[in-house]
């Protein structure tokens, strides 16, 4: 089996439904198609080139950002605005079809995740997989997330940054 599409932590395999493996091109199509996308950015990429690239992706498509863990501080020090929520809090809001969304214009229809603690992110994605049919999830981490609807594959750091660069261009 291709190691790139086995979940990064292999035992998070939950069942028969697996994420679709996506390239930056497919990810771009998903973002373009979305009406109200959201980027959830976690603390694993605090102060890193991946964080910079992720914020550029958000800027390119005017995607509002939620920061989890303590990512808010790192982002605001880099001059990037985000809204701080706990990961479980934002997932809880996203699963509610009636939540007004970050901008107050309605629930999001696509959520991108990056930099969130892998196994915890996997749990949050599982919540959305089961209880938020109104939302598509896309992970742009360097780890394959089987609980997402679509995910980048497992990659090394260099390849991943290239993926992010492509998406940010």
């Amino acid at each position: 089996m291709d190691e790139r599409v086995i979940p990064w932590q292999p035992t998070v395999i939950a069942g028969p439904k697996q994420a679709l493996l996506v390239t930056p091109e497919t990810a771009e199509m998903m973002i373009q198609k979305a009406k109200r996308p959201l980027l959830v950015i976690g603390p694993l990429i605090n102060d890193s080139p991946a964080q910079t690239l992720s914020t550029k992706i958000a800027e390119k498509w005017d995607i509002p950002m939620v920061s989890t863990g303590d990512a808010f501080k790192s982002l605001s020090e880099a001059g990037v605005q985000s809204r701080a929520y706990g990961l479980v809090e934002i997932v809880n809001l996203l699963k509610d079809p009636d939540w007004e969304g970050l901008k107050g214009d309605g629930q999001h229809d696509l959520v991108l995740f990056v930099g969130v603690l892998y196994y915890m992110g996997s749990q949050g994605l599982s919540t959305l997989k089961h209880f938020a049919p109104h939302i598509k999830t896309l992970t742009i981490c360097r780890f394959f997330h089987s609980n997402a609807d679509a995910s980048f594959p497992n990659m090394n750091e260099g390849e991943w940054l290239k993926y992010l660069e492509k998406l940010a261009k």
Binding site: Q9, D70, G86, L87, M120, T127
Partner: protein, 731 residues
């Protein structure tokens, strides 16, 4: 209005299927139901109930073992007497059962009740029983309450029968792998049941062998043995288990119950240590020699005629373990137990750099990098993994390694060689909080002058090492919180030194007061934490105890600024502990691994209708605050958790002065870890008097931006007796 309506269960399925019956596996994705009709939500709740039943049964089975043994030894008439300063000896039993136990025999009534309840709870998990998540959750909360009760009974029994500290100040005891005198014969106890350890201590004292044999322990058994005799050593939390066994220091390994590695026999035998199993919960496939002559058992063990033995008689365990350790120690000292550094370097060269050690690690730790360094005789990365239990030695990397590198042994050796001075201390568990202490702190706690009680409990499945727990405790101690701890959390706190080399136990008193660091003891001693909250409701607010669960829990939820933290929760016991604490209305924060329990209880601060309360004094339903905002919350890292914990100590009845103190802490810590004033601070400002003076200008600006309006300060908020309440089913 009830708890589950305000704090709705949040499910994060760990598995998309159900595999509990032969219809299955059933795929529960995309709204599909299983062959029995169950859906994914109910299946998660069912699994949570199962976990809580398992955890609760573990504590209660432990309590039953202890109680029967202690009644046999001391008689059922032995009084439950906790001394002059404690009149409320069994707050949980009194509230839940309406019974005031006077002696050991009376405690049996509590166990009989909970065992009956547990059978019913467990039966609800069978196929074709409950089908709605809310009903499973209601039962999980009850299983948690039974867990509280079982723990209280277990700890009370051992406190009175074994003369453990009764709420008074307890001595500091030695902690750490380096505290064990390796030149002596060593008996290691692992688990939670003090009886075998006490048997060993008794035998040594009878034979005047105290100076000849070293007794140490891992996990709660260690803490409880030091409550019995402070000469015993605490090796540390369960994260030490595999590396301490691999180090081969222990001559005899005595296991009792809960959280013991199930391959302990195999691991111990690698270094020719003798294993003695002591309860019917962990038999390890060993011959039952409970009724055999000690001379015969000793001979069989010393001559390697058996791999180990099962002895379900703590006194006999004491004799056999001590005698065997004395006999085999000398010969064992000469056995080579770990590879040396040169061998580690050579072994490392076998690494294929496949990287699967990282992928199977629960925390994705970079073991590969450590091995790569070792190839060049650079052991720094191994050291970094070793220190602070960053690697808690679960051993999954070893299982995965395609060239079978003994990674944990390599790590252990590097640690043994480079990490010196692993000697710390922990205050021995003091047991319950005294009534006099409650009288002293009841008012400042309920009014908010003491900003909260924060309890660090549970296991060592930490995301980034044990330091995080100690750092959180330190932060709160510096800010005048009462910090309570137990079990592995208490040990992790003790393994941290400040810049002057002092542990937190050396810096802070063991008083249940502002800036107090109170180690109540082991897992079963956790019962004293809700116990203290119950006593606040009774002693300070004069709420009757007997059979008055609803009113007491309602009082605690709305008035007592307490928060539990189970940063490394991993076990089913921890699930039961957290759920039991929740049932008393006390919020709990777990670490990121806690999401794998599948269920949290989250509030929705954006939905004002969720926070309405019945102000019993005003006689009407009023708008409330999201305080506490969540009942069971998982944080991604220490920084997030620290801020969440102080926020969860806010209560609707804080006085304006108390609220200022709590908001000051919330804002301070948010600024420290997030760089700004929290965006939701306005939700916790009722009048301008609530605003901390230091932050007045900034907070007023936020209030203006959100068009804030003052709110009434609630006098007697309650979730009980809502006029419009609809009573339904299992809610």
């Amino acid at each position: 209005m009830k708890l589950l309506e305000r704090y709705e269960p949040f499910y994060a399925p760990f598995c998309d299927m159900c595999c509990l019956c032969t219809y299955g596996k059933c795929d529960l994705t995309e709204g599909k139901k299983g062959a029995c009709g169950i859906d994914i939500e109910a299946q998660q709740a069912r699994t949570v109930l199962l976990a809580c039943c398992i955890g609760s049964a573990a504590h209660s089975g432990h309590a039953r073992h202890l109680l029967e043994y202690l009644i046999d030894k001391h008689g059922k008439e032995l009084p439950i007497d906790l001394g002059m300063n404690i009149d409320i000896e069994a707050p949980i039993m009194r509230v839940v059962l309406g019974k005031h136990p006077k002696n050991l025999g009376d405690l049996k009534d509590g166990l009989n009740y909970l065992e009956e309840q547990m059978v019913h709870l467990l039966s609800a998990c069978h196929t074709g029983q409950e089908g709605k998540s809310v009903d499973f959750e209601s039962k999980a909360l009850h299983a948690g309450l039974m867990d509280n009760l079982g723990k209280e009974i277990g700890d009370l029994a051992q406190i009175v029968a074994l003369n453990m500290p009764k709420g008074e100040d307890a001595p500091l005891v030695e902690l750490g792998m380096g505290s064990v005198k390796k030149e002596k014969p060593i008996v290691l106890c692992i688990g939670h049941n003090v009886a075998p350890g006490a048997g060993i201590i008794d035998y040594m004292e009878d034979q005047e062998l105290e100076d000849d044999v070293e007794v140490c322990g891992i996990c709660c058994a260690a803490l409880d043995i030091t409550r019995y005799n402070s000469r015993a050593k605490v090796v540390g939390p369960m994260s030490k288990q595999l590396k301490f066994i691999r180090s081969g220091v222990a001559d005899v390994v005595v296991v009792d119950e809960q959280c013991v590695r199930t391959d302990i026999l195999e691991e111990a035998r690698k270094n020719k240590a003798c294993v003695i199993a002591t309860t019917d919960k962990i038999c390890l496939g060993l011959p039952d020699m409970t009724h055999a002559d000690p001379d015969i058992i000793v001979r069989k063990l010393v001559n390697d005629e058996v791999e180990g033995v099962l002895i379900q008689d703590p006194d006999k365990v004491g004799e056999v373990a001590t005698r065997v350790a004395l006999k085999i120690s000398k010969e064992r000292k000469s056995i080579k137990k770990l590879p040396n550094l040169e061998e580690i370097q050579e072994m490392s060269k076998e690494c294929t750099q496949c990287g699967w050690c990282i992928r199977v690690c629960p925390n994705s730790l970079n073991m590969k990098e450590a091995v790569e360094g070792a190839m060049e005789s650079n052991f720094t990365k191994f050291q970094e993994l070793y220190e602070n239990d960053v690697c808690y030695t679960c051993g999954r990397c070893e299982q995965e390694c395609e060239v079978d590198l003994p990674l944990i042994s390599m790590l252990t050796k590097v640690g043994e060689h480079y990490v010196k001075n692993e000697k710390y201390n922990v205050r021995a568990g003091r047991g319950p909080v005294q009534d006099v202490e409650i009288r002293r702190v009841g008012a400042p706690l309920v009014l908010g002058d003491i900003p909260g009680v924060i309890a660090f409990v549970g296991c060592s499945n930490y995301p980034e090492g044990a330091d995080d727990v100690a750092k959180m405790a330190e932060e709160f101690l510096e800010r005048n919180y009462i910090v309570v701890t137990s079990g592995c959390g208490a040990m992790s706190i003790g393994e941290y030194r400040d810049e002057e080399g002092k542990t937190l136990y050396e810096r802070y008193s063991g008083d249940f007061d502002a800036k107090g660091l109170v180690n109540v003891g082991s897992c079963v001693s956790n019962a004293h934490i809700p116990g203290a909250c119950i006593k606040i409701a009774n002693i300070f607010a004069k709420k009757p105890l007997e059979g008055n669960f609803q009113e007491i829990a309602d009082y605690i939820l709305n008035r007592v600024g307490a928060c539990g933290v189970a940063w490394g929760a991993f076990s089913q016991k921890a699930a039961a502990i957290a759920t039991g604490i929740n049932r008393w209305g006390i919020p709990v924060v777990v670490g990121p691994h806690g999401t794998k329990y599948r269920r949290l209880f989250l509030g929705r601060a954006d939905k004002t209708e969720k926070w309405r309360v019945n102000d019993l004094r005003a006689g009407k339903v009023m708008e409330g605050e999201p305080a506490p905002e969540h009942l069971l919350y998982a944080a991604e890292n220490r920084e997030e958790a620290t801020v969440a914990i102080v926020k969860l100590c806010i209560r609707p009845t804080d006085t304006t002065k108390g609220r200022q103190i709590k908001l000051n802490n919330y804002i301070d810590l948010h600024k420290k870890y997030f760089g700004t004033i929290p965006h939701d601070v306005y939700k916790f400002v009722r009048t301008e008097k609530d605003i901390p003076i230091t932050y007045k200008k900034e907070v007023l600006k936020i209030l203006e931006d959100v068009e804030w309006e003052p709110k009434a300060i609630l006098q007697e908020p309650s979730l009980m007796d809502f006029k419009e309440e609809i009573v339904s089913g299992g809610k």
